[in-house]
């Protein structure tokens, strides 16, 4: 098996699950460095320059949240969090702390693969500076010219609606927590005012979605946040 892809760092304490993920990932031509503890993981993240981290939140030696916080002090390393607990609180906290995406155990390995690919793609895009144009399905967003089209018809957005859409576009495909959205669109003093987000999200959906109650693009991750769907269904 010849590994050609970027190095993936895996921090997972359960040996069976570690073996499964390593095998699956290597099978997809990624090289994998797997460790069982947060401490080893932090050292490996510094020494081996991985391209992406897959982090299990429940670790024996330290809290997964702690690993994220320490990493984020000095690194932009993309992080996918695995949580065995289906609790939105943990997930939201991990995302707010700086994780990029999450999966709840048990999950489909195909799902993990697509998340890894998407995240690596986004990282690859970043050095090229601001993206000019974003398109999915009928929705087209011209970021610098600040114009939005649905079905080639221009949609007029308010500045806040546009900012909201922009944040989601820049995080294309990945969930953005309520807190992050409120902070980026309205400012740090608004992080507790989630009703602003609901009202503007409603408005935005009415302008962009064909059926606002069953959105295609602006998806709700209940209890966590929102994400822009990058896949065309």
């Amino acid at each position: 098996m010849k590994a050609t892809g970027p190095l993936l760092l895996l921090i997972e304490d359960d040996p069976q699950f570690r073996l499964l993920l390593t095998t699956t990932l290597e099978n997809q031509d990624y090289s994998v460095f797997a460790v069982a503890t947060g401490r080893e993981g932090l050292i490996a993240a510094r020494n081996r320059q991985p391209g992406l981290l897959i982090l299990d939140l429940g670790l024996p030696d330290m809290d997964g949240q702690e690993v994220i916080l320490r990493l984020r002090k000095s690194s932009e390393l993309p992080i996918i969090v695995l949580s065995a607990r289906n609790q939105e609180g943990d997930i939201t906290k991990a995302l707010d702390n700086g994780a990029d995406d999450y999966l709840t155990k048990p999950f489909n390995t195909a799902e993990l693969m697509s998340r890894i690919k998407a995240l690596l793609r986004r990282v690859a895009k970043l050095p090229g500076g601001a993206q000019e144009c974003f398109q999915v399905g009928d929705l087209k967003v011209e970021l610098t010219r600040r114009r939005v089209f649905v079905n080639d018809r221009e949609v007029h957005l308010t500045p806040i609606e546009f900012r909201l859409l922009c944040v989601l576009v820049r995080n294309g495909g990945f969930v953005v927590t309520h807190r992050q959205l409120l902070e980026k669109v309205w400012g740090a003093s608004y992080v507790e005012h989630s009703h602003y987000l609901r009202i503007y999200m409603g408005q935005l959906r009415h302008k962009i979605e064909t059926d606002p109650a069953r959105p295609r693009y602006l998806l709700t991750e209940a209890g966590v946040g929102y994400r822009l769907n990058e896949e065309e269904d």
């Binding site: 048990p106 010219r145 957005l157 999200m201 109650a213 991750e221 209890g223």
Partner: protein, 518 residues
């Protein structure tokens, strides 16, 4: 009875008024008879005096009436029996009459006194009986041990006029101070070592009936098999406390209190036992349900995986694929069951704190539908959203779980191709979300039961599930202060309707008029 008489006599000794009446009544009679001394015979006058003596005897007691007899005799001798104004009596007949009057007076006084004391005893008995009645009536209504103890202390205080307290052993079987003494009438400072001696002895020494220490009485409270506590009394009058009547009365009081306590304890034990049995039954149904529902998919997984491990190479590609798909599907099913079981346990443990935020209800419905995208692919879901729905304060993740469960049920229990209707509206009862299917509906009388844990209309139906989905829905909706109900539509099919109270008005935001200009 004798002691009661003595006791009352003791009390009357100091009543000088009675003695004065004993003198005053014969003297008054003398004054009344004096003008008629020419008409009346000596025996008539003696009869009048006798009447006075009777009166004193009946109203005022034995000794005043003896005094009245003697006064009457003196007055008769002095004023009526010749020679007048001298105590000498010349007439033989008058002398005999006077002697007979004295004897009759004393004898009738004695009889009257007996009648009086019997009446008094009867009255005291009646008082005791009614005190006991009041006590037993209150005790019969009391359910809690603390209530019974408070009632006991209060009634003993009222009847015997002394401060008292009831001491009971703590968890270690050691007698201790009451935790919540009733203020005022409850004794606060008690010599615990003395109380413990009485308690450990299991009875109070035979004589004087209770163990006395300084100014307190310690009486063991004996149940049918064991000593359950100690009554400590601080009598005002020790002598009175040791009277047999009082002893009997206090014993009866104690018996009543002990019986009430034993009854309350037995009732408590019976309740605990019932709860235990119910918990046991629930655990059993949980275990049998879980073991069946988890073992079935597990059997497939283990079987398919071991076949692949042992004979993987010999199977053709198609068969191998079938086994792998089976493993995947069954594992998914197990995972769903586990999630439900854990969710229910989490909700029941009371650890769930709602993360309430302002949400647009249609948004939650939308995300629930999205979650079931794959399952509902072939089913038409009609959304009816009322205009002007405001934001609602709710826990989005939990409410989404409710809607996913209800939609999943609607899909599971209605024939393929039949549409499912979801309606959201604001009603007088709050936000209403209704999910209606076109399936067979809910059998009559089951509308409530289907929300019970582990309840399934058909216990071993082809539909997988532990019977927790609706129980979870109910727990979540009730945690929001709302309610959920199931009914059948007149045109067929079941409808599940939930109401969430709208307690607060949604916050408003400053409008943003300006449109984006490129």
């Amino acid at each position: 009875m004798k002691s009661a008489t003595n006791y009352s006599g003791f009390r009357q000794k100091h009543n000088y008024g009675h003695w004065l009446w004993g003198i005053a009544i014969p003297l008054t009679l003398t004054a009344i008879d004096w003008p008629f001394r020419e008409i009346l015979t000596a025996s008539n006058i003696l009869m009048f005096y006798l009447l006075g003596v009777f009166f004193v005897a009946i109203r005022l007691g034995f000794w005043p009436s003896v005094l009245a007899s003697l006064t009457s005799a003196g007055a008769f001798a002095f004023f009526f029996a010749p020679p007048i104004f001298s105590f000498a009596i010349a007439d033989q007949e008058n002398l005999v009459g006077l002697a007979v009057m004295l004897v009759v007076g004393v004898v009738t006084s004695k009889l009257a006194e007996n009648v009086r004391s019997q009446a008094r005893v009867a009255e005291q008995r009646e008082q005791r009986v009614s005190a006991l009645y009041r006590l037993s009536k209150e005790l019969a209504e009391a359910r809690l041990e603390t209530e019974i103890i408070a009632i006991g202390i209060r009634h003993i205080h009222a009847e015997f006029g002394c401060r008292n307290t009831l001491l009971f052993p703590d968890g270690n079987g050691k007698l201790c101070y009451p935790v919540n003494p009733s203020p005022g009438i409850s004794l606060q400072e008690v010599d615990l070592s003395m109380a413990r001696r009485v308690f450990d002895l299991g009875k109070t020494p035979e004589d004087p009936g209770a163990l006395a220490s300084e100014d307190k009485l310690f009486i063991a409270l004996n149940g049918s098999t064991e000593t359950i506590g100690v009554l400590v009394l601080e009598p005002v009058d020790f002598q009175q406390m040791f009277l047999p009547e009082q002893q009997q009365l206090i014993d009866t009081f104690i018996n009543q209190i002990v019986h009430a306590l034993v009854r309350a304890r037995l009732a408590e034990q019976a309740k605990d036992a019932t709860l235990k049995i119910q918990a046991e039954a629930l655990r059993n149904s949980l275990l049998s349900s879980i073991s069946h529902d988890l073992r079935t998919p597990l059997a497939t997984i283990v079987g398919a995986a071991s076949t692949l491990e042992a004979d993987g190479e010999r199977l053709n590609e198609h068969r191998r694929r079938k086994l792998v798909v089976a493993i995947n599907e069954e594992a998914q099913r197990m995972s769903d069951l586990m999630t439900k079981i854990l969710e229910m346990a989490r909700l029941e443990s009371g650890q769930v704190v709602l993360n309430r935020q302002w949400y647009a209800p249609e948004e939650i419905v939308g995300s629930a539908l999205r979650r079931l995208d794959k399952k509902l692919k072939k089913r038409q879901v009609n959304l009816h959203i009322a205009d002007g729905l405001g934001l609602v304060l709710l826990d989005a993740a939990l409410l989404q779980q409710v809607l996913v469960n209800l939609l999943d049920n609607a899909d599971k229990y209605s024939p393929a191709g039949q549409p499912v209707d979801v309606s959201i509206a604001t009603t007088a009862r709050g936000l209403s979300i209704a999910i209606a299917d076109n399936g067979p509906g809910i059998p009559e009388g089951m509308q409530q039961k289907i929300f019970d844990k582990f309840f399934r209309i058909q216990a071993e139906s082809a539909q997988s599930g532990v019977g927790l989905g609706l129980a979870i829905c109910r727990a979540i909706v009730e945690a929001h202060g709302g309610e959920i109900q199931a009914s059948n539509r007149s045109e067929g099919g079941a409808v599940f309707q939930l109401y969430l109270p709208l307690l607060e008005c949604p916050p408003t935001i400053a409008p943003e008029e300006k449109e984006l200009t490129p």
